[in-house]
Amino acid sequence: MACIEARDLRKAFGATVALGGVNLSVGEGRILGLIGPNGAGKSTALQAILGLTSYQGELKVLGRDPWTARDALMAEVCFIADVAVLPRWMKVWQALDYMAGVHRRFDRQAAEGFLAKTAVKRTSRVRELSKGMVTQLHLALVMAVDAKLLVLDEPTLGLDLLFRKQFYDTLLNDYFDHSRTIVVTTHQVEEIQHILTDVVFLNRGRVVLDGSMGDVEARFREVLVGPDAVATARALNPIHERRMFDRNIFIFDGTPRDRLAALGEVRTPSLADLFVAMMNDATPRGRETAT
């Protein structure tokens, strides 16, 4: 069974279309990066998945309808938005007590173990902690839950580089295994690129790219082209072109490597560069979502 299965998911706020018919299928054990510019509908999609907002179309998360079964779903789903959501008045021990009280899949000792590796004290209030420490606390609470799906919406917003790196390292080393699924949105694409198994680009409420990292790496190529070969490169229908120093960098979709090798050095584009290429493109190029 797919962990998340969305078919023609739609949501509009008045005249503004947040989701314009999104199809999505996320299997168990995947780490999906949901990437898009501001206003692309990422947060709306996540809120629909978490049962925080209503929607049209079909959506099943762990076999349930999130809008009508949010509380049952949350027994198996964890969610970190940005750091502001932990109640500021709460003390660390209260958060532990409360989680242990309401969440039958919460392992208190595991949470205390994670916290022991940080500087977060049990008697501190959330408002007394630094932003990085609040995230560490939230992550400790969430990792101690034996959840099937973890949803991260800009989890490292406003954190410094060290905390961001540690956040994802902890998540991968101490939490992730192949029975769990993680969906993450962030603007810091380059930081999560190496941990993703799958990627979805959203633009203006639509999926413009959906595939495994392997597929994406096999499909797109970046070529550094010297001035003499630029015309030849343009003739091969690149999806994007940018200039850097004296060379032009082209991104190609599906063009065979041997045809490109003659033009210059062929590389795999970074997700960030691919993202820029596809968002600049006026017509959505994504193939239909495989469901």
Binding site: L52, D71, A72, M74, V85, L86, Y98, G101, R104
Partner: protein, 299 residues
């Protein structure tokens, strides 16, 4: 569902309700601190006035048997009114922010990321003014009364007087019985008020306090201008005062305070249609608050 899974599910709901109530008390410490502080102040005041008390008892000891024994009960009534009023006050303030604060500070997203239903959350929040505050009020009054009776007895004995002179005028058991009888009724009669405030707190995007007062006042105004009557206004005043009158006065007439066990009549209270109408209205308000909370977003 088999019986076992039903029991497990019921236990899980009870657990999340219990922890939801506890977390409200963690966040809103005024609910416990304010009435406790007022009760403690009253006991301290009573202690400081112990000298006056012995004078009253000394007067009672005179062979002439001067009156004034009834005055010995006044401090207990005063503590009762002070603690009950404080409880109602903090409960009203709590209710008007109940579902507003979590949207305001964005913690809503954290609460909603946990397996606690909107119904459980709203009921836990409604239980604070309707159940927790009255229960706390009762416990505080019993403790305060016991301490005051102890202080009075020690003061009387220390002044070389017979404590039976004092105790002849004391009836703590009856006092507590009246509280146990009247407090739940008053709490239930206030339930629609609390439920209204919780509903407003779920719905107002700003200034829930102004909406909570403004909407009823606007209805009063429109009724007055359109029909020349003020039924809605008198109903509102009744919502605040009728419950107290029903519970604590003889036959609910609002004239004499109840003074004997014979005045206690649970059937009369339970048969009051106003109570039931109020509860139905309150339940409707809470139901609407549950619906609103389902689609609530940080503001």
């Amino acid at each position: 569902m088999t019986r076992d899974t039903t029991v497990t599910a019921a236990r899980a709901v009870a657990r999340s309700f219990y922890w939801s109530v506890r977390r409200e008390l963690w966040e809103h410490r005024a609910i416990t601190i304010a009435p406790t502080g007022i009760a403690a102040l009253a006991v301290v005041g009573f202690l400081l006035g112990a000298g006056r008390l012995t004078n009253v008892v000394r007067a009672l000891a005179k062979p002439a048997g001067a009156g004034g024994g009834e005055a010995l009960m006044n401090p207990y009534a005063f503590v009762g009114v002070a603690v009950i009023a404080t409880g109602v006050f903090v409960a009203l303030f709590y209710a008007v922010g109940a579902l507003y604060g979590e949207r305001r500070d964005r913690s809503l997203l954290f609460w909603k990321s946990l397996p606690v239903s909107d119904l459980t959350t709203v009921l836990a929040k409604a239980a604070i003014p309707i159940v927790v505050v009255p229960a706390l009020t009762f416990v505080l009054l019993v403790v305060a009364d016991v301490m005051m009776l102890g202080i009075a007895t020690v003061a009387v004995v220390a002044a070389g007087l017979d404590p039976r002179l004092l105790w002849a005028h004391m009836s703590p058991g009856f006092m507590w019985l009246v509280m146990a009888y009247g407090l739940p009724y008053v709490a239930l009669s206030y339930a629609p008020i609390y439920a209204w405030l919780i509903l407003v707190s779920a719905w107002a995007r700003r200034g829930p306090f102004l909406w909570a007062l403004g909407v009823p006042l606007a209805i009063c105004l429109v009724e007055r201008l359109a029909l020349g009557t003020s039924h809605f206004g008198s109903m509102l005043i009744g919502a605040f005062t009728d419950g107290i009158g029903e519970a604590f006065s003889v036959n609910g007439a609002g004239e004499a305070p109840i003074h004997s066990v014979a005045d206690i009549d649970l059937f009369r209270l339970a048969a009051n249609p106003h109570l039931w109408i109020g509860l139905v209205v309150g339940a409707a308000f809470l139901g609407a608050a549950v619906r609103l909370r389902r689609s609530a977003e940080p503001i």
